[in-house]
C-alpha cells in the first residue's frame, strides 16, 4: 500500500453565499434520488500538489504523476454524494493555460485553491494574484472557496498566519464571512467529507440568516 503523506494541511473555509435550493428540492420531493453530484474546480500553481492530493483522496497511488496539461476530473465518492473535482493544469510562468481557467469555471459549485506554503516569494505572489482574480471572477465570487496551504511539512513552509497575512485573507481585509479553520491530518477521504459537511451546514445556516 503506497503511503503518501501530505502531512499537516491547514484549512481556511471561506463562505460568501450559496444557492443549494435545487439540491434541497430534489431531496424533499419524489423518490430518493441517486447520489447527488457536485462539481468543484481545483486550481493553483503547478507543483502545489493538486494532483497528488486528489489522487490520495481517491485511494489511488500518486505514482506517475506528471504536470497536468489540461484538466483532470476525479470523482470522489462519499456515501451520500459524489464530488466531481476538476483540477486545472497550469504551467509556472506560462500564461497560455492560465488564461483559459475562466473557461473551465462554468457549472462549478465550489472552488478548491491549493498553494505551496514552501514556495518562493515570487511564486507565492503569483499564487496570490491568481487567487484574488478567482475570488473576484463573476462566476466564482459567489461560490464557497476552500484554500489549502499545502506542503506544511517542508522546512521553508510559512505558517497559517503568515499565509493568511500574505494572501490578505484576514477577515478584516476581505470583509468575508469566516467559517473557521482547523488543522487536521490528511487521511483518505475524511478531509473532503468534513468539508462537504461543513459546506452543507453553512449553506443551511446561511439560508436561515438570509430569511
Amino acid at each position: 500500500l503506497f503511503c503518501y503523506r501530505i502531512c499537516e494541511v491547514f484549512f481556511f473555509l471561506f463562505l460568501f453565499f450559496f444557492f443549494w435550493q435545487c439540491f434541497r428540492a430534489l431531496c424533499c420531493k419524489g423518490p430518493p434520488p441517486p447520489r447527488p453530484e457536485y462539481d468543484l474546480v481545483c486550481i493553483g500553481l503547478t507543483g502545489s500538489g493538486k494532483t497528488s492530493l486528489l489522487s490520495q483522496l481517491c485511494s489511488e497511488s500518486p505514482e506517475n504523476i506528471v504536470p497536468t496539461t489540461g484538466f483532470s476530473i476525479k470523482a470522489v465518492p462519499f456515501q451520500n454524494a459524489i464530488l466531481n473535482v476538476k483540477e486545472l493544469g497550469v504551467l509556472k510562468g506560462a500564461d497560455t493555460i492560465r488564461k483559459y481557467w475562466s473557461r473551465y469555471y462554468q457549472g462549478s459549485q465550489g472552488v478548491i485553491f491549493v498553494l505551496d506554503s514552501a514556495s518562493s516569494e515570487d511564486d507565492l505572489e503569483t499564487a496570490r494574484n491568481e487567487l484574488h482574480s478567482a475570488l473576484q471572477h463573476p462566476q466564482l465570487c459567489i461560490l464557497p472557496f476552500l484554500i489549502l496551504a499545502n506542503h506544511q511539512d517542508k522546512p521553508a513552509a510559512r505558517s497559517v498566519q503568515e499565509v493568511k497575512a500574505f494572501f490578505y485573507l484576514l477577515p478584516t481585509d476581505m470583509g468575508a464571512k469566516w467559517n473557521g479553520e482547523y488543522e487536521c491530518c490528511l487521511s483518505e477521504c475524511q478531509i473532503l467529507m468534513d468539508i462537504y459537511r461543513k459546506i452543507n451546514r453553512a449553506r443551511q445556516s446561511y439560508k436561515l440568516w438570509k430569511m
Binding site: 489540461g70 484538466f71 476530473i73 470523482a75 465518492p77 466531481n84 493544469g89 483559459y100 473557461r103
Partner: protein, 170 residues
C-alpha cells in the same frame, strides 16, 4: 450504424487511455493505453480499397460474470485535443442488452484547451440487474452493447461502439 463519419472529428480528439476500477475495493479491472504515434501506422497502404470503418471506433470487452455484480465502478478516460479549443465537450453513453436500455450516462467535460491532454474519472453506478437478466447476459456474449456519442457545442463529432461478454474465465 455509425451516426457520423470519422472525418467529423474535426477537433482531433483522440482517446489515449482507458481504465476501469472497482470503487469499493480499488482494484483495477481493466486498463488499456493507446500505443504512441511512433508505434502506430496511420497511413493506410492497402491498395485493395477496403476501409475498415470500425477502425478505432469499436472495442470488444470480455469480463467475468462477477463484473455484473459490481455496484460502483470508476472509469477513467484520457484524451488529447488538437490545436483548436473545444467548447462544451459532452459524452452520452447508452448501454443495451439486446434491445433493452440498461443505463444512460450523460457527462459534460466542458471546455478543453487546445493541444491538451485531459483525464476524467467518472463514476458509473450500475443499475440493479435481476438474476434472470444477469444469467442471460452471461449466456449471450456480445449481445450487451454500448454506443458512446461525443458532442462539441451540441454537434455530434464522434460515435464509438463497444460490445461486452461476461463469460470470461469460464
Amino acid at each position: 450504424d455509425y451516426l457520423c463519419k470519422p472525418e467529423d472529428n474535426i477537433y482531433n480528439i483522440d482517446f489515449t487511455r482507458f481504465k476501469i476500477r472497482d470503487l469499493e475495493t480499488g482494484t483495477v479491472l481493466f486498463e488499456i493505453a493507446k500505443p504512441s504515434a511512433s508505434e502506430q501506422d496511420y497511413e493506410d497502404e492497402d491498395d485493395s480499397g477496403e476501409v475498415d470503418t470500425s477502425a478505432g471506433r469499436f472495442v470488444r470487452y470480455q469480463f467475468t460474470p462477477a463484473f455484473l455484480r459490481l455496484r460502483t465502478v470508476g472509469a477513467t478516460v484520457e484524451f488529447t485535443v488538437g490545436d483548436k479549443p473545444v467548447s462544451n465537450f459532452r459524452m452520452i453513453e447508452r448501454h443495451y442488452f439486446r434491445d433493452r436500455l440498461l443505463k444512460n450516462f450523460d457527462f459534460d467535460f466542458g471546455f478543453c484547451i487546445p493541444s491538451s491532454r485531459n483525464t476524467c474519472e467518472h463514476i458509473y453506478e450500475f443499475p440493479q440487474l435481476s438474476e434472470d437478466l444477469i444469467r442471460l447476459m452471461v449466456e449471450h456474449p456480445y449481445e450487451t452493447r454500448s454506443d458512446s456519442f461525443y458532442f462539441v457545442d451540441n454537434k455530434l463529432i464522434m460515435h464509438n461502439k463497444a460490445d461486452y461478454a461476461y463469460n470470461g474465465g469460464q
